[in-house]
Symmetry: C2
Subunit: 381 residues, 2 copies
Amino acid sequence: MRVLGEQELRDIAAGSAVLGTGGGGDPYLGTLVAVRAFQQYGPLKLVTADELDDEAMVVYPFVIGSPVPLIEKFPLGKEMVQAYETLNRFLHGRVQAVMPIEIGGINSMVPFFIAARLGIPVVDGDCMGRAYPEVQLVTLTMYGIGASPFAIADERGNSVVLHTVDNFWAERFARSVAVDMGAICAGAAYPVTGKQVKEAAVLGSISYTERIGRAIREANAAKQDAIAAIVEVTNGVVIFRGKIVDVQRRTSRGWALGEAVLEGMEADAGSQMVVRFQNENLVAIRDGEIVASVPDLITIMDAESGQAITTEHLRYGFRVVVLGIPCDPKWRTPAGIALGGPRHFRYDIDYVPLERRFGRSGQRAGVRGEAGASPSPRAGR
Amino acid sequence: MRVLGEQELRDIAAGSAVLGTGGGGDPYLGTLVAVRAFQQYGPLKLVTADELDDEAMVVYPFVIGSPVPLIEKFPLGKEMVQAYETLNRFLHGRVQAVMPIEIGGINSMVPFFIAARLGIPVVDGDCMGRAYPEVQLVTLTMYGIGASPFAIADERGNSVVLHTVDNFWAERFARSVAVDMGAICAGAAYPVTGKQVKEAAVLGSISYTERIGRAIREANAAKQDAIAAIVEVTNGVVIFRGKIVDVQRRTSRGWALGEAVLEGMEADAGSQMVVRFQNENLVAIRDGEIVASVPDLITIMDAESGQAITTEHLRYGFRVVVLGIPCDPKWRTPAGIALGGPRHFRYDIDYVPLERRFGRSGQRAGVRGEAGASPSPRAGR
């Protein structure tokens, strides 16, 4: 168990935005959530999965919907607690810890808000090791773990509980309800045991984001290259440097869909890159060829500060770096690629790991990945 | 308590189609549901509201969605039981009786199916005295009674439970989930006490449909005028006789929306009538002027047999009679007109009771209405 103060929470929020691959919500709002939780409730407890009893019950509180209206509708608060409590009531009050469903500006921090308020710990890990735009896109799905019961709540006091035959149906209903609720709302789902967390989640990803956030902060303080510091910590690769010359974005079915077009600079002068997104960045296309894709992480960062830019904040004229970061090994299994790979998002290409294309080692420095663990290929329950 | 046999159930199904005002599902399917329930479980029990304890818990099982896919997806069964049981679990197994939410080809009969299967009685009444296309359009809403908890289930095994701040939100979420489930699914909602049934429901409407159905059957057997027999029982008025010359119908948000155009015959020769519907018939427009509207009932019937024709079965060339039937007195209060009157459906006209326009007495022969009871004007809870 580790106690986190304000600095650690700020680092986690900043690092989360990098792994959020453009989605997961505004990192500034995430920082606000974390700092508010700290100021109101004091230091927050982070535990490792090893510290969980096998029988402990853990749930995932999160925000679901498009990040665009989140900016207007923030702060969330009451509805997060309501979603959590609706789920916990279903589980007869047995929830002992919470965990982020994904790593992203907001959704990394939401569990800290709930945990601080209820005096329970956050488990160091998540279910993606990144952010993804659909609720079935979690490593838990590869292990046949269901999202149900799945509680959803809005700021008016409405709540909905789903029991679905698989996690694809959970996504479908949750998306419709989120749209009805104003395109953004609070969710709590995927009740799991400590044993299931140890087997099926992505472990250590909160600490990983903290290391990334600290590296950015220290580089900026020392006036050093923040991008280089991120590359070092994440074993990432700079896949493009350029200027944003066009952004198309629309909100549909509760997602921010679109693309950013970049004109190359420095070594990439004369080339063009298009980054397509569905809340999160899905593919990076260089001069017509896909050079990086899900499940690997594609993050667009401010070229100077190394701050990640979420899809809703992309603007014409920004000078940016596109960074590729290897995904968690669970996503590189056949089950992982089938679930969250390019074909799921209708890109008819084979997934090529980032390092194979860009000549990296493929060793992942950050997350304590269990590369040998091969999930069973059941999709949902 | 009265025991109903196959003949009574067939009469109820036929009469329900008349009060279904074009919606509420295919009367043939409703008859199938009833007869199947009878054949499988024997005679069915019908109780009056007076026979209910004030504390008895009653719920409303129903089908929600567009009647068009119902034809393909029938028979329903498993999902109806699942919706009911999901709700009953929420209510700690305390449900003692069921009641139709509306009168219509299918939804009048669904409670008999559930009741027969579980060995509980059906209460003689409903919450509309007709059919309406939205779940908040029930007399219960006028009395501040909420739809929640509201259970929804599909044939795959998915279920959803809504807890909403008012019945308009219940409609919104239920509609979205119904669309996701294939535009039609099973619901169970509006848990009420016996005391609330006595005050806020439309009482006696099952017996009323039975009298209508029997009148049609006896008239046809005696080769007499079935339409005249219906007019007699319902205190209705024939507002048009003609031939269908055009039908427009589309399915949107889980509703069958559209209109039928009729060319006048006999006394109405030279005139045109347009009947607009949203699952149910909403307004009848004669030569450009609205001559009948919700909350009064507008039913299109086969001119020969007196069989009601639901909106999904309207076809070019049918010779029909358009019948107007006075609605339950609860709908004629200010709260009732605000909830289910023409302006709710975006017809910017004042509601004029059918009898005022067509010179009838305004006395209702059928349903035991409580004309003096003025519901409190709260809309939902």
